[in-house]
Symmetry: C2
Subunit: 214 residues, 2 copies
DNA sequence: ACCTGAACACCGTTCAAGT
DNA sequence: ACCTGAACACCGTTCAAGT
């Protein structure tokens, strides 16, 4: 921990420390200063490893995506539809695991090695199902969008649950009364996070229906 | 502008000023202090109108959604598929219009009046096509997720374009070389923002194919 | 080469005080 | 009732200096 010419931590250590904070205190609490403190470093030492906070955030996204099993998704032993489901569910779960991970994913480009690897796997998979390359690319785009969108709705729902307090005073006029949205109200449980059958799996299946019929 | 017992601005003025800043300087620049300064107010005056910065951000999301023409989406004069396309395209455009609007949408719950109204319109539309209520709710969920996901990919792409500089030094190992992702490379133009035919419209059509066949 | 310490220009939010 | 001014506890980032 004393000053010296040898690296006392690694990039991975920093990313891990950042995830620890993300998990425990949310996205807003992920600060260069906080991460440094967690590692017993000075804030400025972090800039020896990452050129900016943004670079650190992107490394976190890559770390998140690196845990996806792309090899399994490419293994033709199981039907393609099943493999897409597994991959999509894993990605969704990875984002849902950490409070505020969605903001993370949204706040930077998705051009890291693992992000591109995911796309590559999806395109290849759809082509193996007989799709021309152009349609396979569009299909991969649709699947990525779908999963990301579900993750966004997940995140929104979780923020909602975490805040059922105090905020009804000044902002009251902006929020809804249930009576004016009867359909949403009546079906809320069907699309909630733990609903069975999962609205996510159902929607993804309909998307795959449409894609694979094309 | 002088101190006094009368409101010098409205909630809408504050939201508008915040959008001005969002558009010109991005999400990170939207600060209570900055918005207040733009209106000739002191930061603390903002807390007379909104209980927190988060409440202001949510009001911005509602403002964004309020411009959607839900009446047109409910008008059975045009085919349902066309109306969904129009609604989805409008929502996507609304988010793409302002730099950083996606982070905005992702950073809070989507439970405002207009957010719920959008959902209500979608469920009703699918039911009018003959879907049972439960499936219509899941279909609405899928469409919302899809559009949100596309907006997220849009946003990621735009951040990417805005930053093709300097960042290749330390973080270099994390980014990709094109050669290892040939399919992504070869098809990038097909799913890019202004591609024709639009990957967004194509994917939404496949999703609707699957949904309406169910 | 790696790290510290001090500094710059910011944040969101609270609170007593003015009109 | 609405707003200001000062203050608290933070930010990301830069830069000269130490070992």
């Amino acid at each position: 921990m004393k000053p010296g010419p040898r690296r006392s931590v690694s990039q991975v250590d920093i990313v891990d420390a950042a995830f620890e904070i993300l998990e425990q205190k949310g996205f807003a609490a992920v600060s260069v200063r906080g991460v440094a403190a967690a590692l017993g470093l000075t804030p400025t030492a972090i800039y020896t490893y990452f050129p900016s906070k943004n670079a650190l955030l992107r490394a976190m996204v890559e770390e998140l995506l690196s845990s996806l099993d792309l090899a399994a998704a490419g293994d033709t032993g199981a039907p393609w539809r099943e493999r897409v489901h597994a991959l999509a569910a894993a990605l969704r779960a990875r984002i849902a695991e950490h409070t505020g991970a969605m903001v993370l994913v949204t706040s930077g480009p998705l051009d890291g090695r693992h992000a591109l690897g995911l796309n590559e796997t999806l395109i290849a998979g759809f082509m193996a199902e007989g799709m021309p390359q152009a349609d396979a690319a569009r299909a991969a785009y649709a699947v990525r969008a779908h999963v990301l969108g579900v993750a966004a709705l997940d995140a929104a729902e979780r923020v909602d649950d975490a805040e059922t307090a105090a905020e009804t005073s000044t902002a009251g006029a902006l929020w809804s009364d249930a009576a004016s949205h009867p359909l949403t109200e009546a079906t809320a449980h069907l699309v909630a996070d733990g609903a069975e059958p999962s609205a996510f799996a159902w929607g993804l299946d309909r998307l795959l229906d449409g894609l694979l019929a094309a």
